[in-house]
């Protein structure tokens, strides 16, 4: 059986129209996160004081660094798409390596943050705020891991000199930008909004 990326690439070579199914996935995924955000805001309105007190324990600078890391990775993915369309494989591979490095850094910082929070006595069930904190950032981290697999797949194809369909590149890039956008909302709501 051929790989997911290779088959998508082959099919993309025949048909480079936008992949509307991918946009459907992004819409549904963001709607699901939107549901989580709505419930989070509802719970915060009911437990304003405890949310404020718990949010004060979050490491906002680490969250800010992760925000900058993800924004950098998103920019690198944009440049990789441009390089891919221009058939500049060297530049595409370099930018994808940068994006993957940023994803790895994000993961490392997030795990460090989890470790510090747990050592500080904040766990999944210690309070309503930290339940949301661990669950929201946890499912976002799952998205980061899936995106890392997709970016790695793309980069492997570039390194091996295979033709990568524009539709495939744009779909992976759109997914990665969604992950970035979701993090911006999580950072704004959980780190900043709850602390305000």
């Amino acid at each position: 059986m051929t790989s997911f990326a290779q088959n998508s690439r082959d099919k993309g070579a025949l048909n480079d129209k936008p992949d509307w199914g991918m946009w459907l996935f992004i819409l549904l995924d963001m709607t699901t996160f939107g549901l989580f955000f709505a419930v989070f805001l509802w719970e915060m309105s009911n437990h304003r004081d405890s949310f404020n007190a718990d949010a004060a324990h979050l490491m906002i600078p680490l969250g800010l660094i992760n925000t900058l890391v993800l924004l950098t990775s998103s920019y690198a993915v944009v440049l990789a798409v441009h390089a891919g369309k221009a058939r500049d494989t060297g530049s595409a591979a370099r930018h994808l390596r940068l994006a993957l490095g940023a994803a790895g850094l994000f993961f490392t910082i997030k795990m460090t943050e989890y470790t510090l929070e747990v050592r500080g006595g904040h766990t999944l069930t210690s309070s309503p705020f930290f339940s949301f904190y661990f669950i929201l950032t946890g499912i976002h981290l799952l998205h980061i891991c899936i995106g890392t697999i997709l970016l790695s797949n793309w980069r492997n194809d570039v390194i091996r000199g295979k033709k990568v369909a524009e539709r495939w590149m744009e779909s992976v890039a759109a997914y990665w930008h969604m992950v970035d956008l979701l993090w911006l909302v999580i950072y704004s709501l959980v780190y900043i909004g709850s602390n305000a």
Binding site: F4, N7, D19, G21, L28, T32, P128, S131, I139, L142
Partner: protein, 246 residues
């Protein structure tokens, strides 16, 4: 290759396959009616209900036990949709239908994991005069078994998605592949409900029960539609009938 050549079956088999597709929405409909008649929906018992409330629900009368029995029948009939999906995937995959087999096994386990908890609820309502703690235990077992066995269903979704997005022979529409990935995602966090006996992540709340119920229902409708759409409008006429064979 054209759809007529891929699904080259006799009229009786076409009718059976069409029935399999229709049993996606029909199963959900039967299950929904059963759960509403039983009173399990729209306000299901939660982990924070008292022993008296749990016993009172299961002592509610014949409509409770029969509603749950009907719901279990509805969920069991979902096996027909699994069979329909299996057949279409098998025709798409061709010689080495590994993803089809994964879908068949995981889909069958999922149907069992949905059906048995509802049957345990029905058994709890069968003899509600027992010690209240036992009824609470049966209620916990049934709801947690209903919500948390996510691995088979996620594996089923992913196998369907990979088959649709990678196969050359598109019998299912491409968007259905991405849709399956989303449905799988909506189940990923359901296991956290083990950690919560109250709050928004308890088993009966929006983000756990209702999101999963909605996405599973949409999945059953969408996959039923996919199976029906995969059946060509006209048979190719190249199938071998008993008369031809004789």
């Amino acid at each position: 290759m054209r759809k007529e050549q891929l699904i080259n079956i006799n009229p009786a088999a076409r009718r059976t396959l069409r029935l399999c597709g229709w049993f996606g929405p029909i199963s959900i409909g039967i299950c929904l009616v059963g759960l509403v008649v039983a009173g399990a929906l729209p306000f299901p018992l939660g982990p924070d209900n008292t022993q008296e409330e749990v016993v009172a629900f299961y002592s509610g009368g014949t409509h409770v036990v029969m509603g749950l029995a009907v719901a279990s029948v509805g969920l069991g009939l979902m096996a027909l949709l699994i069979a329909g999906i299996t057949f279409v995937m098998w025709k798409s995959e061709g010689d080495a239908p590994i993803l089809t087999l994964i879908q068949l096994v995981t889909g069958t386990i999922t149907v069992a994991c949905l059906m048995f908890p509802i049957m345990i609820m029905a058994i709890a309502a069968f003899r509600p005069g027992r010690f209240g703690e036992l009824t609470v235990l049966m209620n916990d077992i049934s709801w947690l078994l209903f919500i948390t066995p996510i691995a088979p269903f996620i594996a089923q979704d992913i196998s369907i998605a990979i088959a649709i997005l990678t196969t050359e022979r598109e019998l299912f529409p491409r968007w259905l592949g991405y849709f399956n990935l989303w449905v799988g995602f909506t189940f990923t966090f359901d296991i956290i409900t083990y950690a919560f006996r109250e709050g928004p992540f308890a088993w009966n709340k929006l983000l756990i029960l209702w999101l999963a119920f909605l996405s599973y229902s949409l999945w059953a409708f969408a996959m039923g539609y996919g199976v029906l759409k995969a059946i060509p409008a006209q048979a190719s006429g190249n199938y071998v009938t008993l008369e031809d064979a004789g």
